[in-house]
């Protein structure tokens, strides 16, 4: 569905700035509390990019978001870059080939990728039960929760942008 659509570059830049702000807020010490699980908000953000702007933009955003996360993350080298690149790309591909681009399918894809993302970390940590229960599961649920907020907020931004463009035309 994104094949014939020309890319709205001002909107892309705006979304990129939002992602940068999310990144800074997430990884600045003292802003986010760990108690309720640390959400990886940038993962649904990468998938969103793929779903709304196409697989090419999704892969582009996924790569740079992943690289930025890898710069501060304790995970295995390149894990976030590879995963978010693929998540952004396949987010776009799934929308083009299989599913409709709506809120429900966005959430389903996001939950699926989040599950795979944390399962991957669990494998890297040699299936450590303590890490799963104390760290990964709370993080998974909080990421899913924040996915809903992210999709609603970014969806709203895109709607407003479309309205503005249609008014201008």
């Amino acid at each position: 569905m994104n094949k014939n659509k020309s890319i709205d570059y001002p909107l892309l830049v705006f979304i990129a700035i939002i992602y940068l702000i999310i990144y800074i807020v997430q990884y600045t010490d003292g802003i986010f509390e760990k108690e309720l699980g640390f959400p990886q908000i940038l993962l649904p953000a990468a998938i969103f990019s793929g779903m709304y702007f196409g697989d090419k933009v999704g892969a582009f955003f996924g790569f740079f978001i992943g690289a930025a996360v890898d710069a501060v993350s304790a995970n295995v080298i390149c894990y976030n870059t590879i995963f978010m690149l693929l998540a952004g790309y396949f987010g776009g591909v799934l929308v083009q080939l299989i599913i409709n681009n709506n809120f429900r399918s966005s959430v389903i894809i996001s939950v699926l990728f989040t599950l795979i993302y944390y399962f991957g970390i669990w494998i890297i940590n040699s299936f450590d039960k303590a890490i799963l229960s104390l760290n990964l599961l709370p993080s998974f649920f909080s990421t899913v929760f924040f996915s809903l907020i992210i999709y609603l907020a970014l969806g709203l931004i895109i709607k407003i942008r479309k309205k503005l463009l249609s008014k201008r035309n």
């Binding site: 010490d29 697989d55 930025a68 890898d70 710069a71 304790a74 303590a130 104390l134």
Partner: protein
């Protein structure tokens, strides 16, 4: 589906992923450096993170001062006095004297160890998704920091440098289950290994394991680094708060209260050189 798999874009993505996997493996073998693309993104975002950290700290300070600072400080003084009185009554005088002498000795480390070269650094970001509380500091290879350099504060050991970028470095803390530090009980000289645990890290505690069953370690004993290789000897790690046997009853494991408040740390010192500094091949 066949068309999709044969598409140029899919092949490009596969190529990029393959390159990243190779990069990951090569860096894993070489060790100690951040992947080039991550290093690039880290360098770009570092000024933003530094500014955000500065703003966050300033807002917290102002908030504390304005809202509850004076009241908290007064209460803190009162409680501190009370704690001091109780401590004097409860704690054995000889132990206190011994501990004081030791801590006094540690404070003189800087003067005594002329061979130590320090670089002070500030924490700019923290991976809250990691149970080991890995964090990033604002100094890197251009400042003289290299892989495996020990990181300390005036209270004791924090961890060591595991990845170095040009202008920032990643620190693996004592709370991480990826760290293994040879340590000894300062009083008894019993030797064991320090490693983190997800169950203990939230409380600022770590594990001291592989102690022989014949050891004579006791609660409140001070644990210091054994020296040799990555860490200089005599850096304070913490005190023993709990003792237990392992599952097979073959060795003793102790829980250590870290002397450094790693969860709320802001400034650290990186030891870039000390006499006898070596390197580890693999964790």
């Amino acid at each position: 589906m066949r068309f999709f798999l044969r598409s140029k874009r899919f092949k490009t993505i596969c190529g990029i992923v393959a390159c990243l996997l190779v990069t990951s493996i090569v860096i894993r073998i070489i060790g100690g450096t951040i992947a080039p693309h991550a290093s690039f993104m880290g360098a770009i975002t570092q000024p933003f993170r530094s500014i955000a950290t500065y703003i966050s700290n300033t807002v917290n300070d102002i908030n504390t001062k304005l809202n509850s600072g004076t009241e908290l400080m007064r209460k803190n003084d009162e409680l501190q006095k009370r704690v001091d009185e109780l401590s004097e009554m409860v704690v054995d005088y000889d132990n206190i004297k011994k501990e004081n002498e030791f801590l006094k000795g540690f404070l003189e480390i800087k003067q005594e160890n002329k061979d130590f070269s320090f670089i002070d650094a500030t924490l700019i970001s923290r991976d809250m998704g990691d149970s080991g509380f890995t964090f990033t500091i604002n100094k890197g290879s251009v400042n003289g920091i290299s892989n495996h350099d020990p990181v300390i504060t005036s209270s004791g050991l924090v961890g060591y440098v595991t990845e170095v970028g040009p202008s920032y470095s990643k620190i693996t803390t004592l709370l991480s289950n990826n760290i293994k530090v040879g340590c000894l009980d300062y009083r008894t000289s019993d030797v064991g290994i320090i490693t983190g645990s997800p169950k203990l890290s939230e409380k600022g505690q770590t594990n001291f394991y592989n102690l022989p069953r014949s050891c004579t370690v006791a609660l409140n004993d001070i644990i210091v680094t054994a020296g040799g290789g990555v860490f200089p000897e005599g850096l304070v790690v913490g005190t023993i708060s709990h003792l237990s046997s392992d599952e097979n009853q073959t060795s003793i494991t102790a829980t250590i209260d870290c002397s450094v408040d790693i969860l709320n740390i802001k400034d650290v010192m990186v030891i870039t050189y000390f006499e006898g500094q070596g390197s580890i091949t693999d964790k």
